[in-house]
């Protein structure tokens, strides 16, 4: 069935711009920030947010020499930290890239496309601990669709999208998919027989991006 578009390119740009400002404000500038995206689309979002924050920090002219260093960003793969490895087909991990300065004593902002059960973020917190000891860890997501299974709450949200568990949220990004859009579709009408209850209710994958849908 056709997916319904809920965010257009302009909406996504606006959301990211706002999040960038909020991060700068909360952090009182760009110093000590490290953005880590969770593959696949979180990585692109982290890169775009880092560029926006770097640009806004430069325009605010807060640095002494007027040329603030770019905000470091990287990728944090959480596959090996997941708690559902025995319940899904084997996932291939993606590379983890920690910026050269590391994360010790930094303010790490985790970036993901969709926040759902919270289990991916739980995995990410474990993964971060194996790479160092940040001063603080924050969470930025483009879409929060609810249905949390863990006491995890985002610090920065592009758009709250209350959804049914049978619905699928697709995040498309220019760098990965050639287009910026967030769409929503009802998979219950696609699924001919009874949907796997384990998949749909008790153990929802928390980032139901298109990439995962194809696995």
């Amino acid at each position: 069935m056709a997916a319904r578009t809920v965010l257009q390119q302009a909406d996504i740009t606006r959301a990211l711009t706002r999040i960038a400002h909020e991060i700068l404000e909360a952090n009182k500038g760009s110093a000590g920030l490290v953005l880590l995206g969770i593959p696949t689309r979180g990585v692109e979002l982290a890169e775009r947010l880092a560029a926006l924050i770097t640009a806004f920090a430069a325009s605010s002219d807060e640095s002494v020499d007027g040329r603030p260093s770019p905000v470091p960003f990287g990728a944090l793969d959480v596959t090996m930290y997941r708690d559902d490895l025995a319940r899904h087909p084997t996932r291939s991990p993606s590379p983890t890239r920690i910026p050269a300065g590391g994360i010790d004593g930094k303010t790490v902002v985790l970036v993901d496309d969709v926040l759902f059960s919270g289990r991916t973020i739980r995995s990410a917190l474990d993964a971060i601990a194996d790479h160092g000891r940040p001063a603080a860890v924050r969470l930025a997501v483009l879409v929060d669709r609810g249905h949390r299974e863990l006491p995890i709450r985002p610090d920065y949200v592009g758009k709250n999208l209350p959804s049914a568990t049978s619905e699928r949220i697709n995040v498309l990004l220019t760098g990965t998919d050639g287009i910026d859009a967030v769409t929503i579709e009802d998979t219950s009408r696609d699924a001919p027989a009874a949907p796997d209850p384990d998949e749909a209710i008790t153990d929802p994958a928390d980032t139901q991006s298109t990439e995962e849908a194809t696995r």
Binding site: M80, A86, H88, T90, S94, P95, D126
Partner: protein, 315 residues
Amino acid sequence: MKHLLSTRDLDRDTAIQLLDIAEDMAATQQREVKKLPTLRGKTVVNLFFEDSTRTRISFEAAAKRLSADVINFSAKGSSVSKGESLQDTAQTLEAIGADVIVIRHGSSGAPKVLAESGWIAASVLNAGDGTHEHPTQALLDAFTLRRRIHGDASRGAALDGITVLIVGDILHSRVARSNVWLLSTLGAEVTLVGPPTLIPHGIDGWPVTVAFDLDAAIADTDPDAVMMLRVQTERMHDAYFPSTREYASLWGLTAARFAALPERAVVMHPGPMNRGFEIASVAADSARSTVREQVANGVSTRMAALYLTATGGAA
């Protein structure tokens, strides 16, 4: 992937996926915290019917880096040597709660029998069976070769057009068999070199070239890699060749042959080496020798193999 029994039935995409995951595993081994929680709560049994400390500790390190519980079961000198069958041993391990059985066995096909018998539900990982296969050794060899050739651009890459000489006792070598299948699946051109007494009959259908003259093979193939196989001491007294000296002069990687190799060629050996016999020290210790990398890469590759076999529910 439920089991890893051979490289013969590993398709190209799966092989590359496994090598890529090994890259991720290798990256974690550069961190201060090398341990991953991936297999927490899983039990890996190293069931070794043959002594092989090197392979066993490599698998043990791999399993522990993934947080699995590891039980080492050396079947030599245990009840197994008193006539307990493979079936009874396997079912004992199953009762203990083994999720993965890493098996080294002197009888070709024992891992496959174990995996397909219906005796157990655990995954089976072949750590060397008789003269059949040693798939993780071939995977770590391919991983090592790929890194030497493609460096940081290894991820996703294969070995297309790479020429490899595998030299020595092909007949009794499970390392050679596994490498023949895997390297050719990855696009490499493989030439087997050794005395005719140590080349198996019936390999016309293998994707390889066979040569008896090592010097000519080096000149003809201009190899990217030379893989020297260990010659077991028991072969030396069983009329496969007249003397160790003659073997070394005809099929050993002597200093002169090492010098005749192209500059880019790497020297591989699965270990342990018979220095001065199948390989001269000048070759074994040179910067072009991958012997120590192979050991380190063994852990990453076996982590990848354990990850792929021990995780994954519905396919």
